[in-house]
Symmetry: C2
Subunit: 218 residues, 2 copies
């Protein structure tokens, strides 16, 4: 078997997307492995998930660093030390410096719970509901300097229901996050993913054939 791609995951909280990645990596034929989990808070629940899976954990507590540059340099050191080839943000709640983003250019991906470019930033499920939109979803994208902007690798669309509150919509989106994040990591490990300016080509996979309407006609 070929050597697996070495993945580092950055978390700040419960790390449900980390859990999805851990689960995917447990399959023997998955072409990537998580070699380090870095948290910026010592009490992130995700650390416990990582430890249970015997994944090395590093806490880089942002409160211990005098500025973002020093904090980001320490994270890069931890990732480089583990010979990481791809960095996955999974609910990591700190803004990253330009230096960090440039260091990991095209090797740093994020998952966001909206159909970017709609609804960047925080509170996006609530904002999607309040907009009256009929669809939302999630996006895996390469990280660039501007928040929630960057070449999109893959997206999933889910309908918004009339009765949705933030919890119900978040849950429906999260189920798809847990599908598409490991899928994107797999495709990158298989060297199928190519960035072309603002767009991403995934070789060997095409668009779906169907469309979705909401409300759905009978």
């Amino acid at each position: 078997m070929n050597k697996k791609m070495r993945v580092g995951v950055l978390i700040s909280g419960r790390g449900s997307n980390l859990q999805a990645l851990i689960k995917a990596c447990e399959a023997h034929d998955f072409p990537a492995e998580i070699v380090v989990v870095v948290s910026n808070t010592p009490d992130a629940q995700g650390l416990e998930r990582a430890r249970r899976a015997d994944i090395p954990c590093v806490v880089v507590d942002h409160r211990d660093y005098k500025n973002r540059a020093a904090f980001d340099a320490e994270m890069t050191w931890a990732l480089e030390d583990a010979k990481v080839e791809l960095v996955c943000l999974a609910g990591f709640m700190r803004l990253l410096s330009e230096t960090f983003v440039e260091h990991w250019w095209d090797k740093l991906i994020n998952i966001h719970p909206s159909l970017l470019p709609a609804f960047k930033g925080l509170g996006v499920q609530r904002r999607a509901i309040e907009s009256g939109a009929r669809f939302s979803g999630c996006t895996v994208h390469y990280v660039r300097h501007e928040m929630d902007v960057g070449p999109i690798i893959t997206q999933a669309v889910v309908p918004i229901h009339n009765a949705d509150d933030v919890g119900a919509l978040s849950k429906r989106i999260l189920e798809q996050e847990h599908r598409i994040y490991p899928m994107a990591v797999r495709w990158i490990a298989e060297q199928r993913v190519r960035v072309e300016g603002p767009r991403v080509i995934v070789s060997g996979y095409g668009p779906p054939e169907n469309v979705l309407l909401n409300p759905a006609p009978k």
Copy 2:
């Protein structure tokens, strides 16, 4: 059979959505009929489509009016004269005055070739492609004062393909426009549609059960 809802359609150009509405109205059980087509230019191709279907046409040439208020008042007069109950914008390229929008409040709908609130305004297919987004679509919504903002009645999602140019994506979206615009008119005529603040409830129709991923997993 119940009385049909009386619809007026405003156009500026070829009127392909007008054509879709004309076709829908030809079905004997369709609960709406187009009673007038208003164009702001005398050479709109859509006028020819309307005449072929024996629908009365009115040209209200914006160049003949000294300001938007006078132009809009003439359009309202033409629509009221035809006892219109619902006004559909179909590629109508003039901004409407606050007075017009208020006069037809909750009786004035538009179709827009994007998944609002993403990509308001013009050139939206090109902008969707350039954003790298994996999905676009179209939206039928009630018209409010701000352009391409207003309670959303229905949306359709279509995938964006790697090879798409503006023409290919526009065509894929237009096919769905031609499905959802008559559908929205039908639901309004059937009195299924209720505006609740920024959201719209369509009674008797629910969300689709499936999701869409792009690229699609095998």
